[in-house]
């Protein structure tokens, strides 16, 4: 029997498949380290949502939007303090009504001018119930927010006309360059919020087709959006008419999308990627990155804070005695875990506010956040103790297993409580259980600041009924102090009241402070002057190329 027909079938199949593959994809757009010398490549990731500021609440799209947009205020990359950017001045007499005047000369990347309506319309759109945006809650403090919410029918479709108003009554355009914001209650730190992604201005063209805009955003920032090829890269180029004080030194940036940290890190080592804002564990362990990169790395404390929260008393009443919670906190050897597990990419916490926040106080948690075996045992002995195994739950889709194991071993060794690390398959499942108050025991909680303020670390987490109050903590004194703080006439006075409120938490220990995240970023020999902001993003305005 001749051999040829068979062979040809097989070869034909192979050739066909290769040809199919070759003609469909395989353009070589993902070049190494940029084709122009003055362009940098940055590690990017797959955005979870389209590029609309009101719907972006994660780093993958947020990082890029922050380069494409400018805001009323700009946070200093070093200390996170706001300074006016598009705003010429922001004034108030009573912390209730704020008058915002815009600087002249700002334009969108499509050439249209930035006016007061660019902000007012954008904010109204974001807050409108019918648009159901992810970031709508940022506008909650503004008067009239409740009136624009409206209702949804059982199928989840917005009921036309169910909202009492189309726009928030607290927003008023005074003239082309001035508008006023009225809040529902006084808030001394309102200005602080205005640099967050959700408060971006939007051009007229946005309202014509928000979906198209989401694929190709038009902003006011130092970089304009050139292209987005899903799963490959996002390309930005410097906007020549950028009105900010500091102009970028580079011609553009390419955010190369990686699904995997190690892949990105290996590209970084081979100089095929320029900036990686967060190095992976495999590079941090044993300070390997110092060997690989020499001095081409930066350490940056950031506003990410990790805690262990106790299930609400209604779900699990075994920790009603605060001394049990304090004893558990004292049994955790934070410095040891930070050194061995995180290789220095955390700093031990001894309070509930991140050190990057201006006015932060050291040691609000006092001795209760310091590892002390004997004190922990003594305090625990005073209580009735905990019966049965104690779960410490976490979501297994992020890098939590190692530290949870270590914390459990500490608790077990020190107090003799059988602490069981309990993984949940993903964040959705994990959060679902917490939100529905079905999870007992202890669970990990994390907080990434929206803006560097004391308020942002306390009110959303520990005020009675607050959105992220997963342990249902309630303390009248605390609530009283934070509302006084919000209404305080000066920022200093407000800050002092917030600090008082924070100190109250030590006695109740509603959540155990663990550590604050420190970003360790690396860069290639192709770039210099790399800075990482307190928000863990790359400060593209300072980056220069070396050749």
């Amino acid at each position: 029997m001749p051999v040829s027909p068979r062979r040809s079938v097989l070869l034909g199949t192979v050739a066909l498949a290769l040809a199919l593959g070759a003609c469909g994809g395989g353009d070589d757009s993902g070049d190494a380290a940029g084709e122009s010398d003055n362009v940098v490549t940055v590690r990017g990731c797959n955005p979870q949502a389209a590029f609309v500021p009101a719907n972006s609440n994660e780093v993958c799209s947020g990082d890029i939007l922050d380069q494409v947009f400018s805001f009323l205020v700009r946070y200093d990359p070093e200390n996170g303090q706001p300074s006016n950017e598009i705003a010429e001045e922001i004034t108030t007499d009573d912390n209730l009504t704020w008058t915002i005047r815009l600087e002249d000369g700002w334009t969108f990347h499509d050439g249209s001018p930035v006016t007061a309506s660019s902000f007012v319309d954008a904010w109204n759109w974001a807050a409108l119930g019918a648009n159901a945006t992810l970031n709508s809650y940022f506008f909650e403090p503004i008067q009239g927010y409740a009136e624009v919410q409206g209702e949804f029918d059982e199928e989840g479709n917005f009921i036309e006309g169910s909202a009492a108003a189309e726009t928030m009554s607290g927003l008023e355009v005074v003239d082309d360059r001035t508008f006023t914001v009225t809040l529902t209650q006084p808030e001394s730190q309102f200005r602080m919020r205005l640099g967050y992604t959700a408060f971006a201005p939007l051009p007229e063209s946005f309202y014509e087709d928000p979906e198209a805009f989401g694929q190709h955003p038009i902003g006011t920032g130092p970089f304009q959006f050139d292209s987005w090829e899903p799963n490959i890269d996002v390309r930005l180029s410097a906007y020549p008419d950028y009105n900010g004080e500091v102009k970028p030194n580079i011609d553009g940036a390419i955010y190369r999308i990686y699904e995997n940290d190690d892949a990105a890190y290996n590209d970084l080592q081979a100089d095929q990627l320029d900036i990686m804002p967060l190095l992976p564990t495999s590079a941090l362990a044993g300070d390997t990155y110092r060997i690989d990169l020499g001095d081409r790395f930066i350490e940056r404390p950031t506003g990410v804070f990790e805690t262990i929260t106790f299930a609400p008393s209604t779900v699990d009443d075994r920790f009603d005695d605060p001394r049990i919670r304090q004893a558990i906190s004292m049994s955790i050897d934070r410095p040891e875990i930070v050194e061995q597990i995180f290789s220095g990419a955390r700093t031990p916490a001894n309070g509930w506010v991140s050190p990057v926040v201006p006015g932060f106080q050291d040691g609000a948690c006092g001795d209760f956040c310091t590892y002390n075996e004997t004190a922990a045992q003594a305090l625990y002995a005073e209580t009735d103790g905990i019966e049965g195994p104690l779960a410490l739950s976490y979501n297994a889709d992020s890098d939590h297993k190692a530290w949870v194991d270590a914390v459990c071993i500490d608790i077990n060794t020190t107090l003799g409580i059988e602490c069981v690390p309990t993984p949940f398959v993903d964040l959705a499942t994990f959060r679902d259980q917490i939100t529905n108050r079905q999870m007992g025991g202890m669970f990990r909680t994390g907080w990434q600041m929206d803006y560097p303020s004391l308020e942002n670390f306390l009110v959303p987490i520990f005020a009675t009924g607050a959105s992220a109050n997963d342990g249902d903590y309630t303390n009248d004194d605390f609530d009283e102090l934070v509302s006084q703080a919000a209404a305080a006439s000066t920022a200093e006075e407000g800050a002092e009241l917030y600090l008082q409120a924070e100190r109250l938490l030590a006695a109740d220990m509603p959540a155990i402070p663990l550590w604050h995240r420190v970003n360790i970023a690396g860069y290639s020999s192709h770039v210099d002057n790399v800075r990482i902001t307190v928000f863990q993003t790359v400060d593209l305005l300072s980056v220069t190329t070396t050749d």
């Binding site: 994809g25 395989g26 899903p230 959105s467």
Partner: protein, 306 residues
């Protein structure tokens, strides 16, 4: 033969329907609200959750949601991911890459695997046999992420022979394909060896040798052909596995392939994305396996497809 092919093509319809329903139902039944995690550690605005739930028909009963989904699919509307990107576009972008990678990996495993299997089988119990046994096994028992990372660091970062990660060229897929193919190498080599050993003992081989044919010719023409059936079956089945199962390798080498899309879809509870990606995968897999079944008859003339 022609009728057989038509029959098989006809049978694909229920399989595709069954599979899509199975997948859709499975993703559907994943616990946890897919939008609960959209806002990280804090709850999302209720309006947002309501809108997304309605948009993806998640509040309809399963059969209804599935029918709506299939209806859209038949009109060519693959739907959107939760981030608003078109699923059809993403499939068009990812499938070619995945196909290239898979075919390269199959080439690696077939060429090296058959060669190693023949070497081992013809020298059963000898040094080469044991060498093949041990070396293919060592590869199997090393987890793929270790193998991938080692290959990447050694040949990509240190030696610079291959691109560290995928840059869209066929060449950058060679190293990942070797890693991917090496996992199945052991199976192919062992299957070839086992069958070869058996077939070498058969009468027709003895007859052939008695006739005075050379050993090479006996192995090459008579024995190997009869030993290929399980190998072809395995490769056919493996094709499907490689298509969808390359998540780890795709991650290590940053290849925008289908495995990753499915994995992310599962994590995000995106029923539409997972179902669409798997459906195309099933189609490719079914066609490949139809070819495999046809190949049986070509390889072994005793098998007839009525």
């Amino acid at each position: 033969m022609g009728r057989y092919v038509v029959q098989r093509l006809g049978q694909m319809v229920p399989v595709v329907i069954g599979t899509t329903f199975l997948i859709y139902a499975l993703v559907w039944s994943l616990p946890g609200d897919p939008f609960a995690a959209k806002c990280g550690d804090r709850p999302c605005p209720q309006n947002y959750i309501d809108r997304m739930t309605a948009e993806y028909n998640l509040d309809d009963p399963l059969p209804l949601a599935y029918l709506q989904y299939m209806g859209n699919l038949l009109t060519g509307d693959f739907g959107q991911t939760f981030s608003g990107a078109s699923i059809a576009d993403e499939l068009l972008q990812r499938y070619p890459t995945t196909l290239q990678l898979t075919v390269l990996a199959i080439l690696v495993e077939v060429v090296i695997g058959v060669a190693a299997g023949v070497l081992a089988g013809t020298r059963r119990g000898g040094f080469l046999d044991n060498l093949v046994l041990v070396s293919t096994l060592v590869v199997v028992s090393i987890p793929v992420f270790v193998l991938g990372l080692l290959a990447q660091i050694t040949f990509g970062v240190r030696l610079g022979w291959f691109p560290v990660t995928s840059d869209g060229t066929l060449f950058s897929l060679v190293l990942p394909a070797i890693v991917l193919g090496s996992l199945s190498l052991a199976f192919v080599a062992r299957l070839v060896r086992a069958n070869l050993v058996e077939n070498l003992r058969t009468d027709y081989v003895r007859t052939a040798i008695a006739k005075g044919l050379t050993r090479q010719r006996v192995i090459g023409v008579h024995t190997l052909r009869n030993s290929l059936i399980p190998v072809v079956t395995f490769v056919g089945a493996d094709f499907g596995g490689l298509l969808g199962g390359a998540v780890v390798v795709e991650g290590i080498f940053n290849i925008p392939g289908v495995g990753n899309m499915i994995f992310r879809g599962i994590n995000a509870h995106e029923g539409a994305t997972v179902t669409a990606a798997v459906t195309v995968l099933v189609l490719v897999f079914l066609i490949v396996n139809l070819l495999v079944d046809l190949l049986y008859a070509v390889i072994d003339p005793r098998i007839r497809h009525a």
